[in-house]
């Protein structure tokens, strides 16, 4: 049975979207690919990309993680308060390690409730999102604090071999994914996301796989938290809240099925970059400030609706 390229490789569609949006952006901003501009874009995109990778893994496994924004907020709050503007570099790295641990714990809590207690992912991670944002607010009730300027600068300006730092990070992540997804354990992920009880019958350790996806997501969220703190240089407990929906949208745009078992990580990364580019395009399009929130929200809904619309046409054609 012949399937079109788009069906067999969901990431292909995301690639097309990326190219189109890059083209539009290029028209509005001709120097887009110049070193500095490219870097300034990529460093803004990186936190979302990191978050999206974790979200993609969870969604592939048949779940979803709505608490990622909360984890980002906690990490940001911790770094901003514990390290502070006057902090030292060693303290920073110490707390970065702590942040990763926080991410692991946050993910493990989700994983425990969902994989071991068998609760529904949406409502569970919705509950933990509230819990985590609450914790972040508790640590940092009002925007403030920060990290040393030098470290923020390190993140913002690093361009080893004239390529943005973000490129290297993404490359490493994709390499790890490329290897992991070709192993038996990689297949486990798709099996669990495809049909968990069938996977169980076949001897796949479903519970551990599901647990693992949430731990991975928590870890990536923590990394995203570190990245965004280094980007902004300061603390704001609400910073993660809007990132959650964006990460989910990026995964959808990237061609992964929200039900699981279909797609990969490459597509969502393309999706995240595309969404970032679209943000750029909106800024350049000079929309009235009052309309900005509305327009951005509508674009997200449109992006989420797109696979549905495409499917609708496909069904009608049959």
């Amino acid at each position: 049975m012949k399937r079109s390229l788009v069906t067999r490789q969901p990431a292909f569609f995301a690639l097309i979207l990326l190219v189109i949006s890059l083209a539009i952006n290029l028209i509005l901003q001709p120097n887009m690919f110049a070193g500095e501009t490219l870097n300034s874009n990529m460093r803004v995109f990186l936190p979302i990309i990191l978050l999206t990778v974790g979200q993609a893994i969870v969604i592939l496994g048949g779940g979803i993680d709505i608490s990622v924004g909360g984890t980002v907020s906690i990490v940001n709050a911790v770094l901003a308060t514990r390290v502070g503007l006057q902090g030292s570099t060693e303290e920073m790295w110490k707390f970065v390690l702590l942040s990763l641990l926080i991410g692991l714990i946050a993910g493990s809590i989700n994983g425990f409730f969902i994989a071991f207690l068998r609760l529904q992912p949406i409502i569970t991670t919705y509950a933990t999102s509230f819990l985590y944002v609450g914790l972040a607010l508790f640590i940092l009730p009002n925007p403030g604090g920060g990290i040393p300027g030098t470290l923020a600068g390190l993140y913002r300006n690093s361009m080893p071999l004239r390529f943005p730092l973000a490129f290297y990070v993404i490359a490493v992540i994709l390499l790890i994914w490329w290897y992991a997804s070709s192993t038996r354990i990689g297949k486990f992920l798709y099996a669990v996301g495809g049909k968990a009880d069938a996977a169980y019958e076949t001897g796949v350790p479903v519970t551990w796989v599901q647990f693992g996806t949430y731990v991975a997501s928590g870890l990536m969220a923590a990394l995203a938290g570190v990245a965004i703190t280094m980007l902004s240089g300061s603390g704001n407990a609400e910073i993660g809240v809007s990132m959650t929906l964006t990460s989910i949208t990026a995964v959808v745009v990237g061609g992964n099925a929200l039900s699981g078992g279909v797609g990969g990580v490459v597509g969502p990364v393309f999706g995240a970059i595309t969404l970032g580019i679209i943000q750029n395009i909106i800024s350049f399009a000079n929309i009235n400030t009052w309309w900005e929130t509305f327009v951005k929200a509508t674009i997200i809904v449109a992006a989420l609706a797109a696979p549905g619309v495409v499917n609708l046409f496909r069904r009608r054609k049959l």
Binding site: F113, Q120, I122, I123, T293
Partner: protein, 323 residues
């Protein structure tokens, strides 16, 4: 296989509410052994719960409809319709009915749009309503430019915020809620729409093959949920008399928790509004307790998050892989 609790969930929720209430009385600021104060406080809690309860009605419907039904746009719809009522009524009693209609209509339209995205475009309810919430919030900014001028009509305050009469200290709001509750019960249990709603919540294929119009029922559910959120906005502004951009948002999470406490299955197909009402009372009690203990908003959020987690751990366990 773990056995479910033998008490029906709404009753369990009410018992929990009573226990919490009694405990609250033992706190330093509590009513202690003063029955009069206790009754007044209890009445106040229930009165406060009315608004959460009404807003949670739509949530109850969509959760019963199954397929991970949820309405995350309820918070922003409440805010929007409250603002709309505020502006349209502008203090005039004659315009109240218009305000109510507008609130219901706008809520219904937004709910309908949610429904279209969910049934026609097959977008998951969570994602669709979350996205719509952003759109509605954006729309609010566009419409209001940050400021709102308007006023509530006296009749609204009279009917919603005040007691029946000076000698009968039962707030009107509670009576309204009871009537509302009966209406929702009729909707769920005594008309065919309700039966069809439960059917699609359990198994959409069977429902369709038994003659149920799944798409239509689903669309109607989300539209009704939107309208009910609109009604919630109308009532809310009638109670507080003021509006602001974050009016509805604090009710969103508790509305879902209330449904869960009340024993409605989050997977759909089983539940009742009475349970949600009990759940709304429990949640209002928790919030009020935290306020009395002077806990900051961050603690409130953590407690609510943890409460929902505990609840679904008890009620929400899905079939285990090994039978």
């Amino acid at each position: 296989m773990k056995k479910r609790f033998s008490i029906s969930p709404p009753v369990a929720a009410l018992l929990l509410a009573v226990i919490l209430f009694v405990l609250s009385g033992l706190l330093p600021n509590g009513f202690g052994s003063d029955l009069g104060v206790a009754r007044a406080q209890a009445t106040n809690i229930v009165r406060l719960a009315v608004f959460l309860g009404v807003i949670a009605a739509g949530q109850t419907l969509v959760i019963i409809s199954g397929s991970e039904g949820i309405d995350l746009s309820a918070g922003s719809v409440v805010t929007l319709t409250a603002i709309l009522t505020y502006v349209l009524v502008n203090g005039a009693n004659e315009k109240v009915f218009l305000g109510l209609l507008a609130a219901l209509a706008v809520g219904m339209v937004i709910g309908f749009l949610n429904g279209v995205g969910i049934t026609v475009l097959k977008i998951s309810p969570f994602v669709m309503t979350l996205g719509m919430s952003g759109v509605v919030s954006g729309a609010i900014i566009v419409i209001t430019h940050g400021n709102v001028t308007g006023k509530v009509a006296p009749i609204m305050t009279r009917l919603i915020a005040r007691p029946i009469s000076p000698s009968i200290p039962i707030p009107n709001a509670i009576i309204l809620w009871i009537l509302f509750g009966i209406l929702i019960w009729l909707l769920l249990e005594r008309i065919s729409f309700g039966r069809q709603l439960f059917a699609i919540g359990v198994n959409r294929v069977t429902a369709r093959l038994s003659g149920v119009d799944v798409t239509g029922t689903n669309l109607l559910t989300y539209s009704l949920a939107g309208a009910l959120a609109g009604f919630g906005g109308f009532l809310l502004v009638g109670n507080t008399g003021v509006v602001h951009l974050q009016l509805g948002q604090p009710f969103l999470f508790p509305s879902i928790a209330a449904v869960a406490v009340g024993g409605t299955l989050l997977s759909g197909g089983k539940g009742s509004y009475w349970g949600t009402m009990a759940g709304a009372i429990v949640l209002t009690l928790i919030t009020s307790l935290l306020t009395t203990m002077q806990m900051p908003d961050s603690v409130r959020r953590m407690v609510l998050g943890a409460t929902l987690l505990v609840l679904i751990s008890i009620y929400g366990r899905q079939r285990s892989l090994r039978q």
